[in-house]
Symmetry: C2
Subunit: 306 residues, 2 copies
Amino acid sequence: MDSIVVFSPASVANVTCGFDVLGFCLDHVGDKIIVSKSNTPGVHIASVSGFRVPVNPKQNVASVAVEALLRDYPTSTGFEIEIEKGIKPGSGLGSSAASACGAVFAVNLLLGSPFSRRDLIKYALEGESLASGERHADNLAPVILGGFTLVRSIDEIDIIELPSPEDLIVSVVHPKIELKTSYARAILKKEVLLRDAVRQWANVGALVSALYTQDYRLLSRSLQDFVIEPTRSMLIPEFDALKHEAISSGALGFGISGSGPAVFALSQGQKTAQSVLQSMSKALDPLDLDFDCYISSINQQGVRVI
Amino acid sequence: MDSIVVFSPASVANVTCGFDVLGFCLDHVGDKIIVSKSNTPGVHIASVSGFRVPVNPKQNVASVAVEALLRDYPTSTGFEIEIEKGIKPGSGLGSSAASACGAVFAVNLLLGSPFSRRDLIKYALEGESLASGERHADNLAPVILGGFTLVRSIDEIDIIELPSPEDLIVSVVHPKIELKTSYARAILKKEVLLRDAVRQWANVGALVSALYTQDYRLLSRSLQDFVIEPTRSMLIPEFDALKHEAISSGALGFGISGSGPAVFALSQGQKTAQSVLQSMSKALDPLDLDFDCYISSINQQGVRVI
């Protein structure tokens, strides 16, 4: 096998109460990554389309991630990476995570799978940290492993695969303004009130419990963010209206996807998720602003060969 | 039925990573509460033994809790409460929670059970908040419901009963110095680093997952406290030695029980728990300090009639 094409999906990180630790994988939206073996040693970006990302392999998250992998598995083979970006950078939908995960997943297959899916998270993290300026794996873990994940630690990488009910459906609205992850992170306060932190970890624990027991009402009650949303919501056009529309149309919960500006809602069943999506779109209609809308179940598979 | 005797057990709150939200119920150690109907209206403390607690019904957590219940269920019947304290106040083992829970549990039975166990938490909370100066239910919930509990919210009381494996055994060492809950709370910083809060809620989520999946290794990794232990451990004699001894004897995790000075370790199986307890005792041996030791499984029943 000299060439491989993979689909590396978008993802929603943080999931309202779980800043930097929770995430789930989306379907349909994602990057297409084509990796080909080459006689020229090293890793090269052969092409980029869809959205602009760096073609310099030292600055591209995909090639940086692959280079990290190759340091642990040296080879004389070179690799050429073609990236068809389906996820806009700075959208809050794990654009850099998708590229980094797709590239290491493809290269691992071309090498005969010396690494497990879990192993690959470490290498993708090298690429991702280039994009955000900090190391975090809350987008990477669901893209590599699929489903709903909890990153317990990245010092020693420790990822927990959580169950997620099949009829939990995601509605995403992505207002097309660019929001740099590094900026969305820089505005956060370095300290939080202990009282708010306690409410936040109570909700994280409750959300994990709700996923195991498929308790939708508990899931709904736990989708609250006392720590990050008050600051970051200011960066998102019509945040309050979007939230109000989602909840009053029957969504179980609502939140900023990653660092935004995309927002998401979780609903039980396709029908509710559709009506939630329509209501959220309505909230943005008065603005002179382009936006995308998606409906997705939680993608249990993650990055895959196509 | 004119009189009832209940056993209201001790409990471990916080459980290392879950400050103010996690707790579990112990066995064997607890308060014995005898409540008798009386022709004299109102709630009276007839006797107190074992350890000293206020006999003034306006200052006693048990009678304050019962009075809260009776405001929602007015009756001309009076109640006399006898309290045999088996849990030292200020031990960190839920002494006030046991008295408050035992009293409302007994009175509810004498009234023909107008309230469910869950309902009683609200009334016990009125008593408990008298003792700690703040409202928190992380000791009350496991005493009333048994087992391992998560308090998601006390604004609107929202308690989750978590599963706990049968062979999870608790070793408790209680150095007999008194530590006022209100003081142990006052020394805490009002703000915490966001970075530490994130690690803490990752661990809370991981611990909840570990309880559902009976993953002892994950349970062990998640029993870390980055927020409270650094401050409160200074109040506990030989804290570092106790922790070192517990972990090196095979405990899955270790922490301060509630606000201390009692400490606890969780182990898989009686045998390990016994050896952990012996090692912890050894750490206190050089001190001229009296201490108690207990071994307990997690009490699934909670407060009960005896």
